[in-house]
């Protein structure tokens, strides 16, 4: 596939910063972007993987891809057969001047049985391949303690790691080469967890937990998205999976378990106060502070994340300030209201949050 491996980072340019080519109104465009291979956060550069089904980076995704190749091959043969028969017939059997009535052939049960049985056999082969691949991709789950619990919300993702107690949002970290079990849950409506580069999609359904096995086989950043229509901001419910080596993953996990140091500096301290005064804490949690809300994402280590708003904008001081001032301009309909802050107030809160790593 020619597009395989082509990772374009340059397209973010018009979205990034202040120039917005396509937008007309007061707000800057939601910066849907691809910035995050840049080293803005002091993290190692990571390759942004393609979101193509053909760019399979786990045994599960590869098994699906092989089945898909098999199906495509079958489809190609059948399509070419049908299309060439049709085209041959319409060319060869065109009416010619002076032609008499053609032979009225009412049918031939033997021939017709043949073109019933042959497709049936082909489909039987596909069915066997299907059953085999299902076992490889997502075998039934007997034990139910997952490595990660994925909880979908309108319109963001919450990730809980029950073994270590880590809790994060929108960016799922996974170690390379480990077969992990994900449990999908929903806090409200039906969502769907889909990372094409890593494999199958599974619905996140309220009151009906589902399971998904994933074994990432290449480090990098994998983009995915909610695939079941879930309301106004369904389109901006991005998934970001960061696959790291076991050591890096372990280090990340340790960093998440540490409570970040209280930010210092005038702006950050003002921001911390504002965070508590201006109702932010009603919805968000920051460890070791009075903020205990659980409606929105946990912000204890928000400064560590690559993106904000479930992949809507890159996590920079500038963008975060804009987001705090009016999230409805960036992600219309999202559940975070505009708090009518001044730009300097929003800036202070952003400085505070960016320091939480």
């Amino acid at each position: 596939m020619y597009w395989e491996g082509r990772v374009l980072i340059s397209n973010n340019l018009q979205m990034h910063g202040k120039t917005c080519l396509v937008h007309n109104s007061t707000a800057c465009a939601p910066a849907l972007f691809d910035v995050l291979t840049e080293d803005t956060q002091g993290q190692p550069r990571m390759k942004l993987q393609d979101t193509s089904v053909f760019d399979a980076n786990s045994p599960q995704a590869r098994a699906i891809l092989h089945l898909f190749y098999f199906d495509l091959a079958i489809s190609a043969v059948i399509f070419l057969t049908v299309a060439s028969l049709v085209l041959y017939a319409v060319i060869r059997f065109r009416q010619r001047p002076g032609e008499g009535e053609p032979f009225q052939d009412p049918g031939n049960p033997k021939l017709e049985t043949l073109w019933t049985v042959i497709p049936a056999l082909i489909l039987l082969a596909l069915l066997v391949a299907t059953a085999y691949t299902m076992r490889v991709v997502n075998p039934p789950v007997i034990r139910s303690d997952p490595n990660v619990a994925v909880i979908a919300h309108q319109w963001w993702w919450e990730y809980r790691y029950p073994h270590s107690g880590v809790l994060t949002a929108n960016e799922l970290h996974m170690p390379l080469g480990k077969k992990w079990l994900l449990r999908l849950e929903s806090a409200d409506v039906i969502h769907d967890f889909w990372v094409p580069g890593l494999g199958a999609k599974v619905d996140a359904i309220p009151g009906h937990p589902n399971y998904l096995w994933l074994t990432p086989s290449k480090t990098g950043v994998y983009l995915g998205t909610c695939a079941e229509f879930c309301g106004e901001e369904h389109a901006l419910m991005g998934i970001r999976v960061i696959v790291q080596s076991s050591e890096e993953f372990e280090a990340w996990q340790q960093s998440q378990l540490r409570v970040p140091a209280k930010p210092t500096g005038v702006e950050a301290e003002r921001g911390a106060r504002l965070f508590e005064e201006r109702t932010c804490m009603n919805c968000h949690t920051i460890a070791d502070t009075k903020a205990r809300g659980t409606v929105g994402p946990d912000l204890t280590h928000v400064g560590d994340r690559q993106t904000l708003g479930s992949g809507a904008i890159p996590n920079t001081l500038d963008q975060l300030t804009k987001w705090i001032m009016d999230p409805q301009k960036i992600k219309p309909g999202c559940n975070m209201p505009s708090l009518k802050l001044t730009e300097s107030q929003a800036h202070d809160i952003a400085v505070y949050l960016e320091a939480l790593k």
């Binding site: 089904v53 199906d71 017939a89 999609k201 009906h208």
Partner: protein, 549 residues
């Protein structure tokens, strides 16, 4: 009636029919032909509306991160596009062809219940208008044409859009069931002398089984609709997980209706193709028995495949295996039909009228839609591609490249019968080629979009190759498709104003509708013809004793 024989008749167009003059004659009509025309014209108006909504979506998606419309507006528009095309356009269009041609093709004077027939149409129109009234009554429905609960619960959709959606579908559903019953009884009781069930044209055969699908699948939708209305209006808890309700019950009931519904939309198309291909190939349909039997197989199997819309919801393996098997099984009777149509053309004497062109493109495009459908039956592929643009490509290859192309074949074939005037073949061919280009250009790339990770129903997308390019191509070709429809409108208008007089049987058709005048008189036939085979007019022309089987 004063008309006695075609010779002394001066009626060559609908405008000549004095019984059809005046608004009142249309509003109060119980004539199946007028009701059929009302259905078809209304369906076409809603088709134009649905097309407009589609173009709005294509403009929004032309470039990444577009701000042509807000997410809320986009969600209403894609929901209304799907709802309009399925319930306000496709179903009434098929009903229109059915109630117009079933009595004619079986040699009857009208439907079994003419007043019920009118009721069915007016219920449809009322429901359809109510659906669109929602736009000015607080917001159109915005949860997709299959409106999954619990997104449709009051807590997540507080605007009245979903209520309008459910009520309108209930009203239209009542009309559809009435029409379905009417069609079945008509076929069973009003066939011309000598026309046994196995001598009915395949169009009749398909409509007959289709009507069973209608009356037995719509109640599943109705049950789901009254449940969601109870939840929304009376605070019941059918689909509310917080109170122990099930989020999946809606999906089961909806698709128990929804999958037969897909076949409700394609079986009449199969029927049209099975009429058009033999006439323009000058050959008897190949394997009537297999075609008829495969229709029954499809009708039965269509009730046993609904879970394939729900493979990603986390079902037990036993259920998954069963429904993967049944979903592949249903591909077989469909495949049989394609091969039988090819065999009908084989060795024939093919005339390339516009109708035949549409029927030819149908066969190839429907095959693409069928094959992408089989991909979804292979469950792990479904796990990757369901809810992506691959699905959007698939349904449009089936319903637009398939059903709509077949209905255009039927339109070019039967337009002269209905109006007495021929459509221009020249403009028709322009329409056809623009349509093939516009359709494939718009939708083929969507397979690729799905493979590249584009989820359906998203109002915007990341600026990552190849998404932008593919969306742009699709949007540009959508305008070609719209242009094709304009050409068709021009053709119709031109033909109604100054089209060539068609005569009784311009194509040399063999079924009974061609035995009467164009347009047919109110009573359809001066004398109900007697039938001795499957092709009464062929038998008449060839004087074969006993006729074709």
């Amino acid at each position: 009636m004063s008309e006695e024989s075609p010779a002394n008749r001066a009626i060559t167009s609908l405008a000549d029919m004095k019984e059809y003059r005046g608004m009142l004659s249309w509003i109060t009509s119980v004539d199946h032909k007028q009701i059929g025309i009302l259905y078809i014209v209304s369906a076409f108006v809603f088709f134009l509306v649905g097309l407009g909504l589609a173009l709005a979506m294509r403009i929004q998606l032309m470039v990444p991160v577009s701000h042509f419309m807000s997410p809320g507006a986009y969600n209403q528009i894609f929901t209304m596009h799907g709802t309009t095309m399925v319930f306000l356009m496709a179903m009434p269009l098929l009903f229109g062809f059915s109630v117009y041609f079933v009595p004619l093709m079986i040699g009857a004077r009208d439907m079994a219940f003419p007043r019920l027939n009118a009721l069915g149409y007016w219920l449809y129109l009322f429901g359809a208008l109510m659906m669109y009234f929602s736009f000015v009554a607080g917001g159109a429905p915005d949860a997709g044409w299959f409106s999954y609960a619990p997104l449709t619960e009051k807590g997540y959709s507080s605007s009245p859009g979903i209520d309008y959606w459910a009520l309108s579908l209930l009203v239209m559903g009542a009309g559809s069931v009435a029409t379905g019953i009417n069609l079945i009884v008509t076929v069973l009781t009003l066939r011309a002398p000598g026309m046994t069930l196995t001598r009915t044209p395949l169009f009749i055969w398909m409509i007959f089984f289709n009507a069973f699908l209608v009356i037995l699948s719509l109640p599943a939708l109705n049950a789901a609709l009254v449940m969601i209305l109870a939840d929304r209006q009376l605070n019941a808890h059918f689909f509310s997980p917080a109170h122990g309700g099930s989020a999946l019950l809606w999906q089961n009931y909806f698709w128990l209706f929804g999958h037969p519904e897909v076949y409700i939309l394609v079986l009449p198309a199969f029927g049209v193709i099975s009429e058009v291909i033999p006439v323009f190939s000058r050959k008897v349909i190949y394997g009537y028995g297999f075609l008829a039997a495969s229709t029954i197989a499809i009708a039965f199997l269509s009730y046993g495949v609904w879970i394939h819309h729900m493979f990603a919801t986390g079902m037990s393996y036993v259920i998954l295996y069963v429904f993967a098997g049944s979903s592949m099984l249903i591909a077989i009777p469909t495949g049989i039909k394609i091969f039988n149509w090819i065999a009908t053309m084989w060795g024939g004497s093919i005339r390339f009228t516009t109708a035949m062109l549409f029927a030819t493109a149908f066969q190839i495009q429907f095959t693409v839609g069928g094959l992408s459908g089989v991909a979804f039956a292979a469950i792990p592929i479904d796990w990757q591609l369901t809810d992506s643009y691959f699905v959007v490509a698939h349904i449009h290859y089936v319903l637009l490249g398939g059903t709509l192309f077949a209905m255009f074949a039927g339109t070019y074939y039967w337009f002269p019968k209905v109006t007495g005037r021929l459509l221009s073949e020249k403009i028709g061919k322009l329409h056809f080629w623009l349509m093939v280009l516009g359709f494939n250009g718009t939708f083929f790339g969507m397979h690729w979009l799905g493979i590249a990770g584009m989820p359906r129903r998203a109002y915007t997308y990341l600026d990552r190759p190849p998404l932008g390019t593919l969306h742009l191509i699709s949007s540009l070709f959508a305008f070609v498709l719209a242009l094709a429809i304009l050409v068709f409108l021009w053709n119709v208008a031109r033909s109604l104003l100054k089209g060539e007089v068609a005569g009784d049987n311009p194509w040399g058709g063999w079924t009974l509708e061609w035995a009467t005048t164009s347009p047919p008189p109110v009573e359809n036939f001066d004398r109900v013809p007697s039938v001795r085979g499957r092709r009464p007019l062929w038998d008449l022309a060839h004087k074969t004793e006993g006729g074709q089987p």
